[in-house]
């Protein structure tokens, strides 16, 4: 769009500071800053989304908090509340391309609505503060705000009303349902139900992978030199099972618990390694048996641990349930993993000493 030479932190968003000469305004006109934006996403917006998804420069995908006009809103136009995470803000403006409205961006420290609501930064205090700072009472005649439903854990609608006079209406979970919502003025049960479709699950893969990249490379190399290429392939397989297979197949894997789902996947991918070690003609019977037990102990315990840690990235798990999973399974996983590592070291030592 325009040559936005703002500072680097906000460079990628389409916001242009509107230089209103203050003296032109009558007394009642708000004097606070207001930004303009468009409903059109540019290439660099999409590139920024890509970087955010890849986990690159994670905390810098931010938008300046404050009030934005989209199109040409007037005193009756709707005000839609969003977070200052670029992906959140862009999904709102993208879905409202041809609608004149305001977007009130809360300062959530660059975090999306759901996570920020859980932390409380997308919260009652911040909303009331932004209503005041943006001087909304002077800009619009009505007293309604549309807040995304996933922001509700941080917002207390009646408290916002008592403190600001604005009535919170909860809009749809997905920004793409906003136009329909604005027509109908109510959300359908379908719109209100959080879903976790394949696309949303796949989008998490790069970030999950990036968390595990370094330990994976280190372990792959170590095992390559000390235990051979098959062992380093097992490391890569384990990590891919936990980070790629698991989110892809999530709804189809039996059992409800994330740990047991991951454990099942782990067993499935461990079996081929177990068989390969067992049937390896170049090793002694003792080494073959030890070698075939080790993957069955280590791989499932690691995939199960990775998938348990996936709980936080889904909108599906309660804290009570996750806690129960931790207490139930972590001791078993630790025991299995520990036993596997001890056997691995034993096998290494015995082979080195040429005992087996």
């Amino acid at each position: 769009m325009d040559n936005n030479k703002d500072n680097s932190k906000f460079c990628s968003c389409d916001t242009k500071f509107q230089a209103f000469p203050l003296m032109n305004f009558s007394h009642s006109y708000p004097s606070s800053d207001i930004f303009s934006t468009t409903g059109k996403l540019e290439f660099r917006d999409r590139f920024d989304h890509f970087l955010a998804r890849m986990g690159i420069d994670r905390m810098n995908h931010v938008v300046k908090p404050g009030l934005y006009k989209l199109g040409d809103p007037d005193k009756t136009s709707d005000i839609i509340v969003s977070a200052n995470y670029k992906l959140s803000f862009d999904s709102v403006r993208d879905s409202l391309q041809h609608i004149d409205c305001y977007i009130l961006v809360l300062d959530t420290k660059g975090i999306n609505v759901w996570c920020a609501a859980g932390k409380g930064t997308f919260g009652t205090d911040e909303l009331v503060k932004r209503i005041r700072l943006a001087e909304l009472t002077k800009r619009v005649e009505h007293r309604r705000l549309i807040v995304p439903q996933l922001g509700a854990p941080g917002i207390s609608a009646h408290e916002v009303f008592n403190r600001s006079g604005f009535k919170v209406e909860y809009g749809p979970i997905k920004a793409s349902d906003l136009p329909e919502y604005l027509n109908e003025r109510k959300t359908t049960p379908e719109m209100r139900k959080v879903k976790f479709p394949l696309k949303d699950r796949l989008i998490l893969i790069p970030i999950e992978l990036s968390h595990l990249l370094l330990p994976t490379i280190v372990l792959t190399l170590i095992l390559y030199f000390f235990a051979g290429p098959l062992a380093s392939l097992a490391v890569i397989t384990t990590v891919l099972a936990g980070t790629v297979l698991f989110p892809t197949l999530l709804p189809f894997i039996p059992t409800s618990d994330f740990t047991t789902k991951g454990f099942i996947l782990g067993i499935i991918v461990a079996i081929p390694f177990s068989i390969l070690y067992l049937t390896d003609p170049n090793t002694s019977p003792g080494a073959s048996i030890l070698g075939s037990i080790i993957p069955l102990l280590i791989i499932p315990s690691v995939t199960a641990y990775i998938t348990l840690n996936f709980t936080g990235a889904t909108p599906l798990t309660s804290k009570s349930g996750v806690k129960k999973e931790i207490y139930r399974y972590i001791p078993i996983l630790a025991f299995m993993g520990g036993a596997g590592i001890i056997l691995l070291l034993l096998l290494g030592t015995l082979s080195f000493l040429e005992v087996i």
Binding site: L150, P153, K319, K323, E325
Partner: protein, 99 residues
Amino acid sequence: MFNSYLENTLEYYPENCINCHRCIQVCPHNVFTEGNDHVKLTNPTSCIECGACAQNCPNEAIKVEAGVGCAWAMIRAALKGKEMDSGECGCDDDGKSCC
């Protein structure tokens, strides 16, 4: 077996409910549904303890120990010797797609 999500901390006191439907509007898992004099707690086991209903109930008809169901944050808290419930969400963003 293998379902740790059958119990949670959600408590509903229908006698306090003024049937305003706020909880129905905010719940992302359709835990509450419409009823005659008060809303019905239809799917209690689907609750993920996000706390939205309790935060927005104007008449204290709902109680829940709200928190984030994130194993990583809890394990990290436990390793640091803190309460598992300390509530700190460890990651700064997991790129979850919401608006």
